[in-house]
Structures are given as C-alpha cells and as structure tokens.
Symmetry: C2
Subunit: 491 residues, 2 copies
C-alpha cells in the first residue's frame, strides 16, 4: 500500500459525520468535540490521518494505565494497552512542524515528511510502505504547524517489525537530489490543488498571513510556492539533522501490547540511535495588534465568505491557574455555545435565521485551546447569495456581543460541557484517537492525563466566565477580517 503522503492541508478530525459534511475542512476544528485534539494541529495541516476502520460507538472502554518511559538517548516511549482487538497503533511524534521553519525554507517540515518515505541505504524508495503492508498494516504521516507524525496501524503481533522499520528511517533516511526534485513536483502540484485552486484555502492563507505578523503561524504548512520552488536538498537534510533527534521524539503505542515488551523492543530499535542535542528554540513572539486588519481576496466563487479572527490566550498547561488559563477554558466553552451542534447559536441565528433573516449558508466558530504557538478565536460564515457581506460580519459580531451582554443559559453550558465529556468517551473507542491524544499531550509537554484534568476544570467554568471572555477579547483593535469575494466584485 502506497502511503498517502500527498494529501493536502487537513486538520486532524475527531468529528461526527454531520460535522464533517459542513464547513471547510482546513478551518473546521470540531470545537468542543475536539478542540484539544486539534490544539497541536491548530489550523492548517498537511497530510491526512486515516480514520479508524471500525465505526466508533459510544460504549465506554475499560480504564487502562498509560506507561511512559525515556530511553537512554532521550526518546520518550508512551504505551497504552488496549486489548479489545489484536491490533496496535504506532505513532512516532516529532516536536517539530512548520512553526520551526524559517520563511525561506517554508514547507520543509512537510517536504521532509514526504522524503521519509523515500528510503534508507537498506530500504529502497517505497519499500517502507510495502513492508508495512506485507505485515498487514497501513501507514501514513502528517505535518502540522506544531508537529510531524508518522503512524502505522497493524496486527499487534507484528509491532516489533514496524518499530524496527520506523527506527531505521528515523536514523538513516537517505535519498537522492533527483528523488527530492520529483517529490517537490508532487508537492507543488499538491499546493496548486489544495490551495491555489481552492478559494477557501486561499482565503484562509490570506487570513493567517494578515492575522499573524511575526509568528510563523502566518505561513501555510505546505509552504509558499517560491519556497517550494527553491528548496535545496541541503535544507531538507539539515532540517532532519537538526530536529530528528531522539530527545525531540516520542514513540506512542496503543493496542494489544505489553508495555514492558514494547519498552524492550524500543530499546532494541530506537534505543540504538545515538543521542544528540535538541536545538535551542528562540520563539518569535507576536507583538500586540493595535488596529483592525482587513484583507479581501477575489476568486471564482458563487458567493462571498468571511473569516474573522482575534488573538486570544491559549492554555499553557491543564493545571495552569493564571487568570488567562481560566479565560482559555471559557473561550473553549464559548466556541461550543456558538457552534458545535445543530442548535448552537451561529447555526440558529445566521443559518436557520431564527428570529430574523437567513444570512449565511454556513457559520462556525473555532478555537484551538492549546498549541505550541499563540491561539486565535475564529468566526466563519459563507454568505447567502444576495446578502451584503457587511451584514453577515455584523451578525457574527452581534452573536458575541449578545453573549457579552446577556450571558449564556445553564442549559447551553451543560450541553457544551457534556459534549466535551462525551467526546472523551467516544474517542476511547479508537486506538488511533487515543494515540493521537497521547502524542499531542506529549507535544504540548502536558501530563498524560491532561484530558481528565481538563474535564474537571471545565466543570468549574461558569456562565459568568463565558460572558466575561465574550466581553473581553473581541474588540476591533485586534480583529482581522478576511473576505472572499466573487471575481466580478473586484472594483
């Protein structure tokens, strides 16, 4: 099975089908059903994560104990036994993504992810995936702004062989300049198909480039066309040399496995990779925004659409008791009150037009909660044909203003809290989702039981907290608005 490494920017999803049908996949964050999940992906991800083959059910799974240890070379191993089926998920997480690139090398994290499938001195191009398939498994990978992840799902009995293959390419990935040139052609075509030919993706790219002035989140994960055009083999190799070090990686295994056995296998495979220094990170800090930003984008679309975003606090740690941490949790619930189910406020107010006119064909709210970089609160709407964009913008603002003025009901608060709790149960049915969550928590340097702590903390967030954050973070001076307009609207 050939790895599907040419997929476009798609956030990892943990959403129901109903959710998947609406909204734009590169923006939709499945807020309140999976905000934390996309925390480390945070808006713009390249490479698709395969979904579990089995349909998830609401049945709760037995509580299990996660084990975590560190190999002598610094590599973290996290194992969660789940014996309901004789399968296992292996994920190798690297705490490096597009945010660790410079602008000149924009896209290199994702390019490297592709090149990791191009072989080692002992594995020919494509051989990695052929062998995984021969083991009865399937593999893929994805790159986000925060992380790069390689994953395999296979019969648990063959896990050791998968680990050996993964360790082999971690340590010895090698390819020719010609192989890179071919792959860059593929990736530029991917960019054309996923960004240049998709007006909503173009809009999102424009939006992020305007909303962030300094922070690397301003750049698309896939890179700019010109950075892809000029990318040198040396740049890709140096990026790997720099960031693919054991101390910057975690192996996450979930499934029908014995933690001590996994540990021994990890020592025998990944453990032989020499330790190296994890590079110092000197983060670029986004300076305060002191004025409204508006960008337009004209394209061949039948109707306008609209993105509005504000920089807001993210959650640094689940136990963080700084007032901003409480605000972050309240913002998460605010997003859930606005959007997250068919009766949420944006849906009712703008799409169904309860109490007025139908203004939008779709409307959503998104908040990432946490990530390695700064967070945004984003409102989005697809404008109903004939409705002025300004009216939809005003209606989106009015939804926030109304909450700032009147607060939210107990029923709304309960519902959004329950959704979060339900999503926790829901995802336990998926080995893949469990592994993903463990990896994300590792990437954030959060404890492994972060979600339980979050669940508890969310219980302490009140309607007054939601009202307070609605009043606090949505001023014009920090707003960025991006509007997609039909080409004929160009003056």
């Amino acid at each position: 099975m050939k790895p599907d490494v040419v997929r476009g920017p798609m956030p990892m999803r943990r959403c129901g089908d109903a959710d998947a049908r609406r909204g734009h996949p590169w923006l939709r964050r499945c807020v309140a059903v999976g905000a934390l999940l996309v925390a480390s992906a945070a808006g713009g991800q390249t490479g698709g994560a395969p979904l579990q083959g089995t349909a998830p059910t609401a049945a709760s799974s037995p509580a299990t104990t996660v084990e975590r240890f560190t190999l002598a070379n610094g590599l973290t191993v996290i194992v969660q036994p789940d014996r309901r089926a004789p399968t296992a998920v292996q994920m190798l997480w690297l705490r490096v993504g597009a945010m660790d690139e410079t602008d000149a090398e924009a896209g290199v994290a994702h390019v490297l992810e592709h090149m990791m499938f191009k072989g080692t001195p002992t594995l020919a191009e494509g051989e990695y995936s052929r062998r995984i398939a021969a083991l009865g498994g399937r593999d893929n990978a994805f790159t986000s702004r925060d992380v790069t992840v390689y994953h395999v799902q296979l019969p648990a009995a063959r896990l050791r062989e998968a680990m050996a293959l993964e360790a082999e390419r971690f340590a010895h990935n090698a390819w020719s300049v010609e192989a890179l040139a071919r792959e860059l052609d593929v990736i530029r075509e991917e960019r054309r198909q996923r960004i240049e030919d998709v007006p909503q993706a173009q809009l999102f790219e424009q939006f992020q480039a305007a909303a962030w002035q300094v922070h690397p989140y301003r750049r698309p994960v896939i890179g700019w066309m010109s950075s892809l055009q000029g990318m040198q083999a040396q740049t890709v190799r140096e990026f790997r040399q720099r960031w693919y070090v054991p101390g910057n990686a975690a192996l996450v295994v979930v499934g029908d496995v014995d933690p001590q056995q996994v540990r021994r296998w990890a020592e025998a495979t990944f453990g032989t990779i020499p330790a190296r220094v994890v590079p110092t990170r000197t983060p670029l800090v986004e300076p305060p925004q002191r004025g409204l930003r508006r960008v337009q984008w004209h394209s061949r679309v039948p109707q306008p659409s609209l993105l509005m975003g504000w920089p807001v606090p993210g959650l640094k740690h689940p136990d963080d008791d700084h007032p901003e941490a409480r605000d972050a949790l309240a913002l998460l619930l605010l997003a859930g009150v606005l959007d997250g189910h068919a009766a949420a406020r944006l849906q009712r107010g703008l799409v169904q037009g309860q109490g007025g006119e139908r203004l939008a064909d779709a409307a959503s709210a998104a908040y990432g909660l946490a990530g390695r970089g700064p967070q945004q609160f984003v409102l989005e709407a697809t404008v109903r044909p004939g409705v002025p964009v300004e009216r939809v913008e005003a209606a989106l603002r009015a939804q926030i203003e109304r909450i700032a003025r009147e607060g939210v009901s107990d029923a709304e608060l309960r519902r959004v809290r329950n959704q979060w709790a339900a999503s926790e149960v829901f995802q336990r049915d998926s080995l893949f989702a469990q592994a993903r969550e463990l990896g994300q928590h590792w990437a954030l340097e959060w404890p492994l039981d972060a979600n339980e702590r979050l669940l508890q903390r969310l219980q302490t967030i009140t309607a007054a907290d939601i009202q307070r954050v609605a009043a606090r973070y949505f001023g014009d001076a920090t707003l960025t608005v991006a509007v997609l307009l039909p080409q004929e609207d160009a003056r």
Copy 2:
C-alpha cells in the same frame, strides 16, 4: 570620533533641505530627485549616512573615468578619481541586507554591522574608529534591506591605512558573547526609540508587513523585538561567515586617488583575504495580490495619517527593453509629477487645497525604481485635523485617476525630467554621493554608467507612458492601505 551606528531606520537621502523638512524620513524617498539613489535602500534603512560637509552647488564637475577591477579572490574594486580636494571616500559594500535574513534572525544584518565595530584579535573594541579619527577621518555604516555599507571619509594621503583597517575587520572581526549582549541592549533600545515610540514608523512597519506577504521586504530592517531578544552569537557569526566573502563585496573609492595605486593597495590589503563561495540565493517571490488590504494602527497622535501602496514593476537593468522596464521609468516620472517640488500635484491638490479644500498637512508619492527585491508605489498623507481619512484616501486616488484620464502636461514632464538631470549634476559635487551611486549600481549588478543610460532613456518616456501606467497599476485589488489613528478613535 565614535561611529554613529545606533541610528534608526532612515533611508539614504539626496534631497534638499526643503524636502528634508517635510514628510517622514523613513518613507520619503526624494522621488525624481533621487529615486535611483534609494533604489537599493528601498524603504527602511538602519544606520545613518553622514552627509557631505560642504554645501553642494550646481557647478558641474569634470568628467572622470571610473575604473573597475576584480581581485583574485573575487572582490570588486571601483575607483573614481576626483581631484578637486585632497580627500577620499572609501566604501565597502556587501551585497547582503535584511532581505537575506530569515524571519527568525530578522535584524541580524544590522546587528552584524554594529558588531563590526567591536574589534578583531588585533583591534580592541572601538579601536577601529579611534584609528580612523586619528587619521583625520570619520567613519560610519548603514544597513538597508538590500545592502550593508561601511564608509570612511578621510585625507586621501591616509587612504591606504583606512583600507588596511577595513580589510582587517572584514577578515577578522571577532567579539565576545558579552559584547553582543551589550550591543543587543543598545539595538533594542534603538528599536524602541525609532519604531515603537514613533507612530509613523509603527505605521510604516504595519504597512510593509501587510503589503508584502512572502517577500522579506515585509520585515523591518532593524528586526522584530523578539528576534532581537533571542539573537544568538552563533547566528550573527554564521551570517558573517556566510555573506562576508570577497565575491560578495565591492570596495568603492572616490577622491584624490590614482586608480592603479588604489588597486595595488587593495591587492595588498583586501587581496590577502581568502576566496570563498558566494552562497546561492533562493529568492522568495511575492505571489500576486488579488484583493484590497487595510490595516489600522492606533497610537497617541494628534491627527490621522495614511499610507497607500501598490506593487509595481521595478527596473531590472537600465538597458532592459521589456515593456515593464518602460513602465518602471514612467512610474518614476509619475512620482515626480505627483511629488518632488512645491508645485507638484499632491502638494497643490491636497496640501495647498488649490481648487478645493485643504485636506492634508503633508502629502507625498514615492517609488524606488530599482532594488534587489520587488518595488512599490506609495502615496502618503498626513490628514488635516477634522478631515475624514476616507476623503483624503479618495483625494489621493483621484490624483492618480485624473492623470490616468487626462494625462500630464508637457511642462510637468519637462520639469520632472530636468529635476532628474539636475540631481545628477548636483550629486557629482559630493564624493560621498558619487561613491554611494557607484556602490548601488554594483549592488544592482548594473553598469557603472547606469545613470547616464537612465537619463537618456527617461528622455524617451512620454506623457502617454505616464498616463498609461497611471491607468494600469493602481487598482483596488492590489492596494494596501495603512491608517494611523489617534488612540481615542479606537472603537
């Protein structure tokens, strides 16, 4: 004399006093009087170039022959004898500036410029400037988006010693981590004083960050506060190691010198520096803009001001006969028709209010003509208190639209052409200006007689050309507007 290396972003200037009194120094480009001059500086320069001590006159200087040769290690030497006084100007040009930085290392070119004054194994900190002063000279340096330049003006008889000192630090500049930490304090304070505390500079920074999405021109030459905060000694040293190579440098000498003598001295000083590879450049290409961008900035100012910019073609080479080259020359004259003297259109129409109301306290047009990166056409106005910003914006557009509709008069065209010609004569009186022009032409990879060729080509640009470019390049879909608003206007 201590070198003034802590000056803020200032474009190099070749303007009269009247010009210097109005407008904002970091934006004013002395268009049509010196567009080419600022071509390589192109909007945002750090470090001030000292002006000639003697007041320039309109007297023409004798024609001289420039000589140019290349040392065995690749360093270019350009010598222009000018024997009117027993002095000389030495400039060392490096074809590296802020545009060669990545965002994470934003500001490093300028930081390195500062550190070049911090010594070598045989020159203590500050010793370079003390010795230049002891020779009867004065020295300084500046960094722009395109170039870094170190310059000395001194009695011609002491030139050899200045060359030896310059070659010494080119080859052996060295300093401690502590010296860098101290200098970074100075530079961060410089950034506070020159950008953070100057609303117009803040606006210009916001404007550039919005107008360029991908190209490094989007970043300020001085860097972001956070890139300055996190700057490592290794980053500065590697930048020097990478870019300060003989093949990427030109020594320009103008004054009472014999070219063959200068050549021998250059061989004995700079010639001993080993050749090294000039790094490959992989330029980031700005993608097409397909929608209006607006940014606001609120600050403590008594009245609003406004910047409007459009990406326009630059001139690649003086002999370039591509239609865009003709457009670039026409844009240069357009800027001169709009602004460049007290009776120019913006001044009359907006500031003096001829034929209507006085809308602005200042108004200007700027176009860089050429640079290593892409060019902009910028209109600027300081809004008269009480006048709505929108009216001033409309009035600026109307000036361009009127030219697009009605063209310009022969008298206007003649005047702006004559100004350019006069500025050519004018600058020949200054050794410094001559050296600067030679260096800029080298930086652009232009021939040494570029200005004469430009003068000839400008004679071929017609009123119809100006009308054509006014109609062509000023649409809303490529416009970026930045508005500075008094704090109380913040909603």
